[in-house]
């Protein structure tokens, strides 16, 4: 009888996050069946999906990835990365593939590399919208055909079906576009017959590396899956998984701590029980998986909504600090007058008062008490040049505007010359929807090459 026990080694919560090298070496000695790592997240904001680029530099990513490719060679098992380049766009997959090929040449390796792309063509998504195959999730923004037309990148989050297809190509390395964080880890154990609830639950526990242990920074975690449950063992000497650290991890970045929706169904951990096998290893059983029909995948998308220029001025003067809200109203009024006189249209000015309410905006309920405030003027318009034009228009006021016409002209502190900073394009996440698929592979593309 063949054993179905499946071990997945997770080096870190994401490529680019530091991990314990000694722990990785120990993990490789534990004979894992797969090394899996996540390469992205929406947590850094919409810019990365909007531009299809990574938040980490190529050189830093290449150095980290080369280490994992060396680890793969040592273990002799497949290496899988998903949501590459922060956003998982097709351009990010190409970027990662290019880097991977470069490393194979440098290492003198000949490998089979499979890419799984999850970028969605706008016309196909529009057709799906017309056909009623796109459904809003709770608290999704309203969308129309024009929303989709404006997107610079749309990705679908792959589940286990698509990752299993990629692994089944027999690749040494799988580079996947956007996937759910969990599917990367759950795919192999489920294809080998391990308990589905345990596979998805264990995947959720391990998707942030060692975050579900007493030493989150150690990163390296070994997950063992079998017919009835999973076992989590952190590979760092000084890290321990306890029933508390493991069960508490379902809270993390999850609106519902018991239910996790995934392509093809959902995980329910409300009946899971956590047993300490020793002081640093935990076994979990009782998690349940439910298939749901129709098969859906989640969509993520970003669109460009304008270009921003930002000016910052510092106000140390006690009189102005005490009346800072009034001063900002005067600045805004002056801007409206000047913009109208110059026929500068379609520029939105938002002023945030740093040291007052710049973090929580209208939800702020504390009174400011510091010795200085910063005034951050954010100009947003359809072009970079227009936003900068507007910022330059307000420059003299930021420096010198008196509270009332009767007081001496003040001068505030510009931290830079010029004080205007061009921030580039502003992107917005605009889809929080699911796409119904008749065939899980119909929105994903596999390609295999030999290096």
């Amino acid at each position: 009888m063949s054993t179905i026990e499946t071990k997945v080694l997770i080096p870190a919560g994401a490529l680019g996050i530091p991990y314990d090298r000694t722990a990785l070496a120990k993990g490789l000695e534990a004979s894992p069946d797969l090394i899996a790592i996540d390469g992205g997240s929406t947590d850094s904001g919409p810019y990365y999906l909007g531009t299809g680029t990574s938040k980490y530099s190529r050189s830093a990513t290449k150095a980290d990835w080369a280490e994992l490719m060396a680890a793969r060679a040592t273990a002799g098992v497949p290496l899988l990365i998903g949501s590459v380049g922060t956003c998982g766009s097709d351009s990010a997959v190409d970027w990662m593939l290019d880097m991977t090929l470069e490393i194979t040449r440098e290492r003198g390796e000949h490998l089979k590399i499979t890419t799984l792309k999850s970028g969605q063509d706008r016309n196909r998504v529009t057709t799906a919208l017309d056909a009623g195959k796109i459904k809003a999730l709770h608290a999704a923004p309203a969308i129309s055909r024009s929303t989709i037309k404006d997107c610079t990148n749309i990705v679908a989050l792959a589940g286990i079906e698509q990752i299993q297809a990629a692994l089944n190509t027999g690749a040494d390395i799988v580079i996947a576009g956007r996937t759910t964080d969990t599917a990367l880890i759950a795919a192999l154990p489920i294809s080998r017959g391990c308990h589905k609830g345990a596979a998805w639950h264990g995947a959720k526990v391990a998707e942030c590396g060692a975050l579900a242990t007493t030493n989150p920074n150690s990163g390296v975690t070994l997950m063992s899956f079998d017919k009835t449950g999973f076992v989590i063992e952190p590979m760092a000497e000084d890290a321990a998984a306890t029933p508390y650290t493991v069960s508490a991890h379902m809270l993390y970045e999850n609106a519902d701590p018991f239910i996790l929706h995934e392509p093809g169904g959902y995980l329910d951990v409300s009946e899971a029980h956590y047993t300490a096998l020793d002081e640093r290893i935990v076994r979990v059983e009782g998690s349940r998986w439910y298939d749901t029909l129709p098969y859906t995948v989640k969509l993520e998308a970003a669109r460009r909504v304008g270009y921003q220029t930002v000016s910052i001025v510092m106000v140390r003067d006690g009189h102005y600090r005490a009346h800072i809200a009034d001063w900002v109203v005067a600045l805004e009024a002056s801007f409206v007058r000047k913009a109208a006189a110059r026929r500068l249209e379609n520029v939105h000015l938002e002023i945030r008062i740093i040291g007052h309410s710049a973090t929580l905006a209208e939800l702020e309920n504390a009174s400011a008490s510091g010795c200085e405030v910063g005034v951050m003027a954010i100009f947003t318009s359809p072009s970079q040049s227009r936003s900068t034009e507007a910022a330059k228009l307000l420059n003299p006021d930021l420096l010198h505007l008196p509270l009332t016409p009767h007081e001496p002209m003040p001068t505030f502190a510009f931290p830079f010359s010029p004080p205007e900073m061009e921030r580039g394009a502003l992107y917005e996440f605009c889809l929080h929807h699911t796409l119904t698929l008749d065939d899980p592979m119909s929105a994903f593309w596999l390609d295999t090459i030999e290096s």
């Binding site: 919409p46 809270l251 304008g306 929580l360 905006a361 996440f429």
Partner: protein
């Protein structure tokens, strides 16, 4: 009276994707957990975040002594009006909320 942050172990807020915010209140022990569950009404949370009470999802997890509050994000993450990309600062609103002190 004492601030909620001063009577519990930890309060953290986090994005749960770009459209949702989730806040976890880690209580010290069972007594503390029951006290906070009773003292922290959803109406107060709704006022604090200026949202409809019906939009608040609340989970009282007695095994962990954790109260979890989830809601649509005050502003969608990264939009022009959003002021906190990772949503971590919203926890402060609950930390600074006044609560009756635990009776001995």
């Amino acid at each position: 009276m004492a601030s909620l942050g001063s009577i519990v172990r930890k309060i953290r807020s986090k994005n749960a994707g770009p459209f949702w915010l989730t806040i976890d209140i880690f209580c010290e022990d069972k007594t503390n957990f029951i006290h906070v569950c009773e003292g922290l009404q959803n109406t107060r949370i709704a006022d604090l975040f200026n949202i409809e009470e019906s939009m608040i999802q609340r989970f009282e997890m007695s095994q962990l002594n954790v109260i979890k509050i989830s809601m649509p994000r005050p502003k969608i993450q990264g939009t022009a009006a959003d002021t906190d990309m990772h949503g971590a600062s919203f926890a402060v609103l609950l930390e600074e909320m006044e609560m009756p002190t635990t009776t001995p």
